[in-house]
């Protein structure tokens, strides 16, 4: 089995891979909740019952073809920084990290499939893909679900579908979500309107790490709320349609900003570049704010296109637990801010100043790399 350091050494596949619509949709994620028949749910189970459920599930999960040479560990055997790193990579949930004895994580080598054992439900399975690929992620995960059905007795009801600990997940047990980067909608003050409209059709929207309403780095997650009464296909189709619409709004807002106020856009991107290239102390909020603008600059042609990927990798690597893992010791917040600045400077070292005059051509059919 894979060691933690080996797992984490490489960026996840979905952080480096190219996906459809990557400039706006960072990742697509699918989660399925499943439970064992006859076993008490993890939150209600006594310690021995949790252990018992784990003993049933773990061999079945580890035997999955995709989990060959996977990372498989009980959370009790990981230290708090290691658990936090998994949370920051979206491989386990905060709730799972906080759970005690009998909880485990089994994560596929490339980190695109992660299974939480004894989270709120016995099994929380996740597939994550770069760009807009909800369907691809769902198909991958559904195949794993089919495999597990052969070895595990899952709790299923003919009326209520897959039975989950919380009734809000009944039915399909499906949570589908996409992470969107929407700086132009924020800059042009249209974001509230768009998010309200999304909410009105029964989809949930939240900021990057789901704390309050504020969104760091102009990152928003859109997901389904209802899981019962509709098929997976219907849920995915609605979500795909809405995400495509939001992405179109963002694309239009980017074009309009360039047209209406190129000086403002240039200024924002130029300043972001300046701060990130030359800061020696930077907290995560400031870093995310500027990385968001730099990422926008990459998409708009002020900076090389691969700036987008560089920013995405940094979004992950500048988080607190990642910084501590990187330096191999516990860091005070002050130390984190200076190490964060150091890492950002290092990664952007060869990035030339934004080309303010030549922004991306309108004609999409003729993308000219020479312009950069």
């Amino acid at each position: 089995m894979m060691r933690f350091t080996t797992l984490i050494k490489n960026p996840a596949d979905w952080m480096t891979g190219e996906g459809a619509d990557n400039a706006i949709v960072l990742t697509s994620r699918i989660r399925l909740a499943r439970n064992l028949r006859g076993e008490a749910f993890p939150g209600w189970a006594k310690k021995e019952q949790r252990r018992h459920a784990l003993e049933i599930m773990r061999p079945a999960v580890e035997a999955l073809p995709c989990m060959k040479d996977a990372f498989s560990q009980e959370l009790d055997d990981l230290n708090s920084v290691q658990k936090q790193v998994l949370v920051e990579r979206h491989l386990i949930s905060r709730e799972h990290a906080a759970r005690g004895e009998g909880s485990a994580a089994v994560i596929e080598r490339r980190q695109s499939i992660a299974l939480m054992l004894n989270e709120e439900d016995h099994l929380r399975m996740q597939a994550i893909r770069p760009g807009m690929s909800l369907r691809g992620a769902f198909e991958a995960l559904s195949a794993i679900d089919d495999d597990l059905e052969n070895s595990l007795e899952l709790a299923f009801d003919h009326e209520l579908g897959y039975l989950t600990t919380c009734p809000t997940n009944l039915g399909t047990g499906l949570r589908a979500s996409a992470m969107l980067h929407l700086p132009a909608l924020v800059l042009s003050d249209q974001i509230g309107q768009v998010l309200q409209a999304v909410n009105k059709i029964g989809l949930a929207v939240r900021g990057l790490y789901g704390e309050g309403t504020e969104s760091l780095g102009n990152l928003f997650q859109i997901s389904n709320q209802s899981t019962l009464g509709e098929s997976e296909e219907t849920i995915l189709r609605r979500l795909e349609r809405v995400i495509a619409q939001v992405a179109t709004h963002e694309r239009n807002a980017r074009d309009k900003l360039l047209e209406d106020d190129p000086a403002m856009v240039s200024d924002k991107i130029g300043r972001a570049y300046g701060v990130l290239r030359h800061a020696w102390i930077i907290d995560s909020k400031e870093a995310l704010t500027h990385l968001s603008l730099l990422r926008l600059g990459g998409d708009l042609g002020f900076l090389p296109q691969d700036t987008v990927k560089t920013c995405d990798a940094l979004l992950m690597d500048i988080q607190p637990a990642h910084l501590q893992l990187h330096s191999g010791r516990k860091l005070s917040p002050e130390e984190r801010d200076s190490i964060r600045a150091e890492i950002v400077r290092g990664r952007l070292q060869s990035l030339e100043a934004p080309d303010i005059r030549s922004t991306r051509k309108k004609d999409e059919s003729d993308p000219d790399p020479e312009i950069l």
Binding site: G43, H158, T165, P167, G171, L228, G229, E232
Partner: protein, 170 residues
């Protein structure tokens, strides 16, 4: 149980999560219609109702049928559900089915699963759905005094049930 608004016999029971607490309201047909509670999006509306009739709402007493019931598999009670808003095991859903059905109002787009079914349960699932459909038709046929059709439907139901029995016994 009586209607929380007018005191007539209540037919509509709502269980709601209000401010993190599970609350129940009972309404007669007329009041339910008047308040638009039959509308599945009336989630917030029930909250409003609860606010209007604070004296009538019993926040913790279980329904007569539900009182003292305990999941035979995991020992979970309705009190526990109120406290932690999560169930104890899959069997709890059978034990508290009525309460679940009330709780689902406004929570989801529907009340019935129409998604993926585990491959091993497909046959049973289809049979269950077919039986339900036939029983619905049977009720309709009887109501409209179409006894010939009702007899046919009853035969069909019996056939499916008989076919199912030997399988479910082994």
């Amino acid at each position: 149980m009586d209607c929380d608004i007018c005191g007539k016999h209540a037919k509509v029971h709502l269980t709601q999560l209000v401010g993190g607490q599970i609350k129940k309201i009972a309404l007669c047909d007329d009041c339910a219609k008047e308040k638009g509670v039959t509308d599945p999006t009336g989630f917030a509306l029930a909250e409003m109702l609860l606010g209007k009739t604070p004296g009538k709402v019993v926040p913790s007493a279980p329904t007569v049928a539900g009182s003292g019931r305990r999941c035979p598999n995991c020992g979970f009670t309705l009190e526990d559900l109120r406290r932690i808003r999560r169930f104890g095991c899959a069997d709890c859903y059978d034990t508290f089915r009525e309460d679940v059905n009330q709780m689902l109002r406004g929570m989801h787009k529907g009340f019935k699963h129409c998604g993926k079914v585990p491959a091993g349960m497909m046959e049973l699932h289809e049979r269950t759905q077919r039986l339900e459909e036939l029983r619905g038709k049977l009720d309709q046929a009887i109501t409209s005094e179409n006894y010939e059709e009702a007899a046919g439907l009853r035969d069909e139901i019996r056939q499916i049930e008989v076919r199912a029995t030997p399988e479910s016994n082994d």
